[in-house]
Each structure stands twice: as C-alpha cells, then as structure tokens.
Amino acid sequence: MAVPILKQSPYLIATIQSALSDADLLSLRDSLTEQVGRFRSRGVIVDVTALDVLDSFASRTLRDIAYMVRLRGAETVIVGIQPEVAFAMVQLGITLEDVATALDLEEGLAYLDKKKLNSGRG
C-alpha cells in the first residue's frame, strides 16, 4: 500500500495511515528520496500519528529516510509519535538519534520554517 505524499511547497508531507509492511516502508523511503530531487523540496515531514507500533525496522528505515533525504539537500522531521509508542521505543533502546522529531504536523512545519530561516540566505 503506497503512502500518500503531499506536496506542500517547499516541503513534502507523507502521512502513514496504517501499519506498513517492510516492503512498503522501503518503497516510501525510495519515493521520498526521489521526489525531494524532482520537486526540489527543502523539507520532509513523515507523520506517524496512526501507528501504534514502531519497531526497530521501521525506526531504522525512518532514520535512513532522514539521512538519504539530507544527502539530497532536505531536512526530515518525524511527527506524531504517540506517548505509548515513544515509551515502548526507548525501552527497547530505539531512540531515533540524529533525527528531528516534533509533536504533530503543525509543530513539524514550524520546525522546518525555523530551520529554513536559520540556514537559507534567500
């Protein structure tokens, strides 16, 4: 099941709506990496509000998305991690270091706007 990716210039917003298979996650990763180049996006938001589980494969893939997208010139923010999911993750030692996180879509956009302001000179 493909994850819908919305273009909200200059950002891309991917909203995960249900549990994804490993193949779906990899497909999302590849789509985002490709589209960042095609649309010259400055930022990517991955919304995981609907997920009640984030296992180590999913977390690793989210990290990969952040790294690959950064290599293509954009910043990634993971938003919508639920309290129970966050708790379960840290207990398993999955901390998503080096990946920006925010509470929800609104916060994620605010974060990207601030980053753009700080780094961009035009």
């Binding site: 309290p83 840290v90 929800d104 916060e107 974060y111």
Partner: protein, 286 residues
C-alpha cells in the same frame, strides 16, 4: 511412677503457670528491663501489655490453637509499632517469657528428671510455636504498614504543571521506585501531548537519592519526551544523584541539566524565545 497422659501434663503445667502468674510476670518484666528491651515504653505500659501477653501465652499453651494468638499478636503490633518497637525487641521478650516459664517448670519438676523431660516435651514445641507466631504476626503487621505507606507515597500524585505556553514543570518529591518512575513518565508524556509542550523542566530537588534503575528510567524519560518533540531540562540534582549518574555511565550529552529550578526555568524560557524584563520604573512621565 504414674502413667501420665501428655494432655494431663499440659493441663498441669498450665495450671502451675496460672497459679504463679504474678511472680512469673514480675520476673519476666525484670528480665525485660535488664535486657534493655522496650526502652520506648514506660514501666507502666510494659506491665499493662505484659499482663495481657502472659495471659494470651498461657491460654495458647492450654488450647493449642494459634489463630487467637496470631490475631492478638497483630493487634499488639499495630499498637506498638508506632511507638518505635523493633522486631528484635518483640522476639526478645517472647523468648524471655519462654525462658522464665521454662525455669519455673525446671524448679517444680527438678526432683523427677524423667517427668521433667516429659513436661518439657509437652511445653517446648508449644512454646516455640508461640514464639514463631508472635514474631511472624509482628513482621506481617510491619509489612502491611510499609505497603500502606508506599501506596500513600505513590498516590501523592505528581502534577505536571504548565507555567508558560509550551513549558511544563514536573516537580518530583520523595522516594521514587521503578513503579512510580514509570507512572511519572506516562503522566509526563501524556502531558506533553495535551499541552503541546516544547520544553519540560523536571525538578528533582526533592529526591534525595535514586538507584541506577530509576536513573536509567530518567534517561528513558528524556529520550521519550524528545520523540514527542519536547526538550527536557533536569534540575536540582543532589551530589548523590550526580554521582549515581556518573557511575552508571549516563551519556551526559543526552541530558541537559541546570543546577536549580530557577535556572532551569530561565533556560527553558530562553529556548522558547522568551525574555523576561522588569517593567521599567519610568522616571519620565509624559
């Protein structure tokens, strides 16, 4: 030599202990004072309790049923634990009573060694069961009180307080065990989401010490909060806790700490982009 049934022997020695109760009780009270037990209680109090303990003891010897004694022991414990009486004192005085009564039996039956042996065969198992029952009753009562206190502490609900837009404070006071730590984390994460907090100040000035599992839990809390988009500042670490954190090798790069709550709030305000400025006492008035 008379063929004496064990039950008759028991009845005989119980009658003897009842008959001589005044002097035996005084002997017992004297031994308690000599052994410096029950120092938390006055002589009058000791005497009052001694009377009822003695009567219960002898009655249990007679009936052989321990339930009444067990209930009495828990009741007694409930009264004397708040007075600061310790386990070794309770066990000590029961054993002293056992000895005082045994000596009295030695004295009575000293002329007939075989009879004395049979009397002791009847007395000793019963006396030991009594000592056991009283000690166990006391300890159970203590454990019940401790459990109640732990519950009470747990229920001292730690509020998650919003002091500014996007800024939460979690003041923690008292003893944290793993269960309470878990409760606090869940409460905090829910609070972060509900208040859309960007910064949380966790103040542990009121926590004297924490073991390594709770310290690890604190680190987990910081990490989990970050996943919800909130930065955590920990304030009020005591020297002991600082030592614990260093000892367990916490990655201090992950934990942002400030000395006291005031400093923590000021830092949080900075992070959020607030600047607190005194209202200028304007000398120029238009």
């Amino acid at each position: 030599m008379k063929e004496v049934d064990e039950k008759d022997l028991l009845r005989e020695l119980v009658a003897h202990l009842r008959q001589h109760r005044t002097e035996l009780r005084e002997e017992w009270a004297r031994r308690i004072t000599d052994a410096e037990l029950l120092t938390a209680m006055s002589r009058e109090e000791i005497f009052a309790e001694a009377t009822s303990v003695y009567n219960n003891y002898v009655e249990t010897l007679e009936t052989g049923t321990l339930e009444t004694l067990h209930a009495y022991a828990r009741n007694l414990s409930e009264r004397i634990i708040p007075r600061g009486v310790e386990t070794h004192e309770v066990v000590g005085i029961v054993l002293l009573l056992r000895d005082v009564l045994a000596r009295s039996l030695f004295a009575k039956y000293q002329d007939d060694f075989q009879l004395l042996n049979r009397v002791l065969d009847a007395y000793e198992p019963a006396a030991n069961r009594i000592a056991n029952t009283v000690a166990v009753g006391f300890v159970q009562e203590r454990e019940r009180i401790i459990r109640e206190q732990q519950e009470a502490i747990r229920e001292l609900s730690t509020p998650v307080l919003q002091v500014r837009e996007r800024l939460l404070i979690l003041p923690i006071i008292g003893v944290i065990d793993s269960q309470r730590a878990r409760q606090l984390t869940e409460q905090l994460l829910r609070g972060i989401r509900a208040n859309r907090a960007r910064v949380v100040v966790i103040d542990i000035t009121g926590v004297a010490a924490m073991d390594s599992s709770v310290a690890n839990h604190l680190v987990l809390t910081v990490e989990a909060s970050r996943l919800l988009g909130a930065a955590v500042i920990v304030t009020g670490l005591s020297p002991e806790i600082a030592q614990t954190l260093v000892r367990i090798g916490v990655n201090l790069g992950k934990m942002h700490t400030v000395g006291d709550l005031q400093g923590g709030i000021e830092e949080a305000e900075r992070v959020l982009g607030y600047k607190v400025v005194p209202i200028a006492e304007s000398s120029e008035r238009a």
